[in-house]
Structure formats: structure tokens, C-alpha cells
């Protein structure tokens, strides 16, 4: 079979499943990775133009994390902007029924093979975690809308059961209508803490406090940037009203600096923090809680893009990265697009706008590859204006809630940094005392970031703590800190973005050795 570009609408090749050989990859014009706000919007937008679209998503249902739901929560009572989702889902479902979208839920995409000139991208996934089979899709254009995950900071006791990310508490509610605990402290930095607290209160949990390390009054100094995202105001007001109704105190410029318990969490220590997040001695108090839901902003999931060769930029501080995209959401790899949190954390509204622009541009690129489209794609000025406005708000949000370096004084030597390999701050310090100056050397000596999660949870913390302790050791100023940046860029390199059974890798090798074109 030839995959050379063909003319006209013939490009839309959909080989029926019963005809397709079991191991031969499926084909689409546009592959979309992720079915959250950005991915769903990109998929329906591309499908609207007549493209064949394949959507691969880790979740069992469309919606991503923002609109994650299960049969018990399908009424949207724990969700925000639910009517926007149901409208989008209706369009998506119609395209799936009409055969224009090939929907693959439960697919963990682990690699995007970039094409040689004139060839197609190959997207590889492990399908169905209970069976773990290899699935591959070929496409002329790919949109990565993989989203983001909560950033957590390692503090003494944070590995205790009952300590979880803010997103974990939210996901329990949204997907399963189960409250994470009875007495909950919500802590971290960023506006996401408010819906988490409001949702838990609504579900009957006692929210002991919302603990915000930043100073949200800083928003008031930038009225123009807030005006750009005026739709957020009633949303935030609604959460605050619900918190007031349930008498949930909001502590700003405070942080949870330790968690306590033996086999599970029973209390946390809250302390006041300075603008640079140094804990203020003597300000500590203890709050009883069976759950701590913590989140210090979000980390974009850029592994697939990084491995495919897309250019990255530092985003959100302390070694987090996002994909660099142009006005059409295209990355530095032609035909590879990114939308939503993978391009920098900005929330669901921005994700939908970026998904719209990316879906349209990816469909155009696929058509171009087939020799169909001529001339430049006209700009969607309205979408681009909205995107600019929401970017301004996202930048402000990032500034107000940015993680400050003082947090590196919260953990002690016994605090686990790398949860997977159980590497403590003391182990990091020992590696640094042996002469390690950068994350790579620390990793080789002490093994942080070498477990199941591949450093996703601890990577930024290891970089920040390494910089701090190398500096303490040298008393020599900024050598360690300067290393932290490009060091971290190397650290995000993960050839396989998901755990892959060896038999799937073997299939992959034979697949690539005998190209079917």
C-alpha cells in the first residue's frame, strides 16, 4: 500500500476494522492526543472540515481532567462550564457516529514518530491498561493536547496516605462522586484551590482551611489583565461564596510546611510565609485533617512533544517547560501542533481557543500534504484576539502564584523527594557533598527520578534543591543555580512517555524495520 499523498478527498482513507490486518496501523488525516477541552475542540474543528480524525486519550470517557466524569456525575453538578462540554460532546459524538472521528479511549500514547519528508507521523500507544496491546495510528498532522498535572512540593510527611494533589481530590469528586476525606485542608498556590475546596464542601467534607502561599491581592494591581478575562470573576465569586457559606477560612501568605501521621495523615503544620516563601518562625499552628489536597500550579505534559523534537521554552519557573508554538499553534516540527496546557498553563477557556486554532490549522496542513489546499489559511482574528487576552490573564496568574524559592527550606533531611525511589533530601545532599553539581550527577549517584513516574513528580524539586544545596556547599554564588535551567531541560527527555510492556516494544521494532510503504 502506498501512503504517498493523493489528490482530493481520497485522502480520507478509512479502512474498516475487519479488513485491516491486526498489526497494520490505522490512518487518519489528523491525530489528536488528548480529549480534554483543547483536544476535543481541535478534533471536532478538524472533523468539521471533512478530515478523518483519530482521537487517542488516556481516559475512558471524553472530557479530560477538567470535564472528567463518570455515570454518577454525568449531571455536571461537580463541574464548571458543563453546558459547554455537553455541546462539544454532542458534536464529537455525532462525528464518531458519522465515521469522521475514530475515538480511542483508554490509549496511553508513548511515542510520536516524526516523519521523514513526504511521510506520515506514527503515533504509538498502549491500548487498554487491563490488556496492554500496541496500537498505532498514522497521520499527516498531529495535535498534542496532553494537558498538565498538579505540581506538589515535598514537605515532611507528604508521602503519607491522605496527602494527595488537589487534582486528585477533584478527580475523585468529578469521576466518582466520592469525597477524598472528612476533614480536608486544601493548600498550595493558585486559583484552582477554590473550586477544589468548594467541591469538597459541596460533597459534605469539612474543609478546615484553604491555605494559599501567594498574595491574591496582587491581582488588583493589574486591572487591565483581569479585564481581559472578565468571565473568571463570577466564577471565582461563586467559589468564594460557597466557601463562605460553609465557613471555610482562606489563609493567604500561608503554607502547609509539614504533614504528620504514622500509617496515614492525621494533621498538618501551617506556617506564615514571607513573599519569598521563607517560613516565619513562631507562626506555626497545627490543623487536624485526614486529607491534605495540595497543588502549586500545574506542570505541562510535554514529553511527547519534546521527544518528537518540538522546541520548548521555560514556563512557570523552576525547570518547567512548555511547547513553543506559532500563531497557528504549530510547533517547530512542521505538521506537529500543540494546544492547551502543553503550550503553557492557561485554563480551559484558553485551551478551547487554542484547540480551535490548532484543529483548523492541522486540518489545513493535512489537506496541504495531500495537495488539496493552496494559498495561506486565513487568520481567525476573533479567536486570536481571545487567545491574546487569555494569555495576558494566564501570565498574570503565573506571576501572582509563582512558586518562590523559599519553599526549599521547608523539607528536612529525612523528607522524601523522589516518591518512587524513596530518595530523601539527605541522600541528595550526600550526592552533592560528593561533588555532584547538577541534576544528572545527582540522579546517577542518588537515583531521584528513576522510578515509575520518571521524575515527573520530583523533577523540579530535585533541580531546585540541588541548586540550593550546591550553593550552600560552595558559598560561591550562582554556579549551581545557573546549571539548574539547562539541566532541567535534559531532565524532561523521556524516550517513552508511558510504561510500555517489552512485547509492545518488540512489536514496535519489527513495525519500524518493515515499513509498509
Amino acid at each position: 500500500m502506498s501512503f504517498a499523498p493523493r489528490k482530493g478527498r481520497d485522502l480520507v482513507t478509512r479502512v474498516p476494522d475487519q479488513v485491516r490486518a491486526p498489526d497494520s496501523p490505522a490512518r487518519a488525516d489528523v491525530a489528536v492526543i488528548g480529549a480534554g477541552p483543547a483536544g476535543l475542540t481541535a478534533a471536532v474543528t478538524a472533523a468539521d472540515t471533512g478530515c478523518a480524525v483519530c482521537v487517542l486519550d488516556l481516559g475512558e470517557r471524553p472530557g479530560g481532567q477538567f470535564w472528567r466524569f463518570g455515570p454518577a456525575t454525568g449531571d455536571g453538578r461537580f463541574h464548571h462550564e458543563w453546558p459547554a462540554f455537553t455541546a462539544l460532546r454532542d458534536r464529537f459524538t455525532a462525528h464518531v457516529a458519522g465515521g469522521r472521528i475514530d475515538y480511542r479511549p483508554g490509549h496511553a500514547v508513548f511515542h510520536i514518530g516524526s516523519p521523514r519528508e513526504g511521510e506520515l507521523f506514527r503515533v504509538h500507544a498502549v491500548a487498554d491498561d487491563r490488556r496492554r496491546e500496541h496500537a498505532a495510528v498514522q497521520a499527516a498532522a498531529v495535535v498534542v493536547a496532553a494537558g498538565a498535572y498538579d505540581r506538589q512540593l515535598p514537605v515532611p510527611g507528604w508521602t503519607l496516605p491522605g496527602v494527595m494533589s488537589a487534582g486528585a481530590a477533584q478527580a475523585l469528586l468529578k469521576a466518582s462522586a466520592v469525597a477524598a476525606g472528612r476533614r480536608v485542608v486544601v493548600a498550595g498556590s493558585g486559583p484552582f484551590l477554590l473550586p477544589v475546596a468548594a467541591g469538597l464542601a459541596r460533597a459534605g467534607a469539612r474543609v478546615v482551611a484553604v491555605v494559599e502561599a501567594g498574595q491574591p491581592l496582587q491581582y488588583l494591581r493589574h486591572p487591565a489583565d483581569i479585564a481581559a478575562a472578565w468571565r473568571k470573576l463570577p466564577e471565582a465569586g461563586g467559589y468564594l461564596a460557597r466557601m463562605a457559606r460553609h465557613r471555610v477560612p482562606l489563609l493567604t501568605r500561608h503554607a502547609v510546611v509539614a504533614a504528620h501521621g504514622d500509617e496515614r495523615l492525621h494533621s498538618v503544620t501551617v506556617a506564615r510565609v514571607s513573599p519569598s516563601w521563607e517560613r516565619v518562625p513562631g507562626s506555626e499552628r497545627t490543623l487536624e485533617a485526614d486529607v491534605l489536597a495540595a497543588g502549586y500550579g500545574f506542570v505541562p505534559q510535554i514529553e511527547l512533544l519534546a521527544e518528537a523534537g518540538a522546541g520548548l521554552r521555560a514556563a512557570g519557573g523552576e525547570g518547567a517547560f512548555a511547547a513553543v508554538v506559532g500563531a497557528d499553534q504549530q510547533t517547530s516540527v512542521p505538521g506537529l501542533f500543540a494546544a492547551g496546557e502543553t503550550t503553557g498553563v492557561g485554563g480551559a477557556d484558553l485551551a478551547r481557543i487554542e484547540g480551535l486554532i490548532a484543529g483548523r490549522a492541522a486540518a489545513d496542513a493535512a489537506g496541504r500534504a495531500a495537495g488539496r489546499n493552496a494559498g495561506p489559511l486565513p487568520h481567525d482574528r476573533r479567536a486570536e484576539r481571545q487567545r491574546t487576552a487569555l494569555h495576558r490573564f494566564a501570565t498574570l496568574m503565573e506571576r501572582v502564584h509563582a512558586v518562590q524559592p523559599g519553599w526549599t527550606g521547608w523539607p528536612d533531611d529525612d523528607t522524601v523527594v523522589c516518591r518512587c525511589e524513596e530518595v530523601t533530601v539527605g541522600c541528595l545532599r550526600a550526592a552533592i557533598d560528593l561533588g555532584a553539581d547538577d541534576v544528572r550527577s545527582v540522579k546517577l549517584l542518588a537515583r531521584p527520578g528513576m522510578g515509575w513516574c520518571q521524575g515527573r513528580i520530583c523533577g523540579q524539586a530535585v533541580a531546585a534543591l540541588t541548586a540550593r544545596h550546591a550553593q550552600d556547599r560552595d558559598h560561591a554564588g550562582a554556579a549551581g543555580l545557573q546549571d539548574a535551567g539547562h539541566d532541567a531541560e535534559r531532565a524532561v527527555s523521556r524516550p517513552l512517555a508511558q510504561p510500555v510492556p517489552l512485547r509492545v516494544l518488540a512489536e514496535l521494532a519489527s513495525d519500524d524495520a518493515t515499513p509498509d510503504d
Binding site: 455515570p71 454518577a72 487491563r130 524513596e422
Partner: protein
Amino acid sequence: MPEEPRPRIDITVDGAAWSVPADCTIAAAFTEHGQVAWRRTRRGARPRGLNCGIGVCFDCLVTVNGMPGIRACLAEARPGDVICTEEGSGFGDQGS
């Protein structure tokens, strides 16, 4: 929480019969049952349960119907599932 009682399903956890809400993740089933830890770590034998909640951290791994390393935060419990908590590497070593 839901006004009308939710339908429930039967699963087995470490040999015990559990009735858990239908249509919830395995992590939610543990949480609803009051169990916050369902794995012990390889080095320190420390208890672990739900952490990131969205499939990134791999702290919540369980064995489901003999398949080890399933993320309890993503997988939904299905009627008749036989779930075993794990001890060690996440490759299915069982507790004693």
C-alpha cells in the same frame, strides 16, 4: 452527595468481598471503603495510596485480575474484579 442510593457492585479485595459504588474508579472504591493505602514501597515498606489522581505518579498501583501495575486512579472497578494490593516494585509482588 447523591440523593438516591447509588447502585453497587461486588468486587474482591485481597480475598475479602467488598460492595462498592458502581461506576467509580478503583481508587474511589478504596476511599469510599475507608482504606487510604493499598501499596507498600519496595525499600521502606511505607504505605501509599492515591497521590496525583490522574495517572502520572504511579503511586496507586494495584493488581487487577492478575494484571499488575494498574493505576487505581484511572481504572474503573467492574463487577467481579479481583483486586490485590501490592508490595514492592509495582510489578505485582503481593503482600505476605
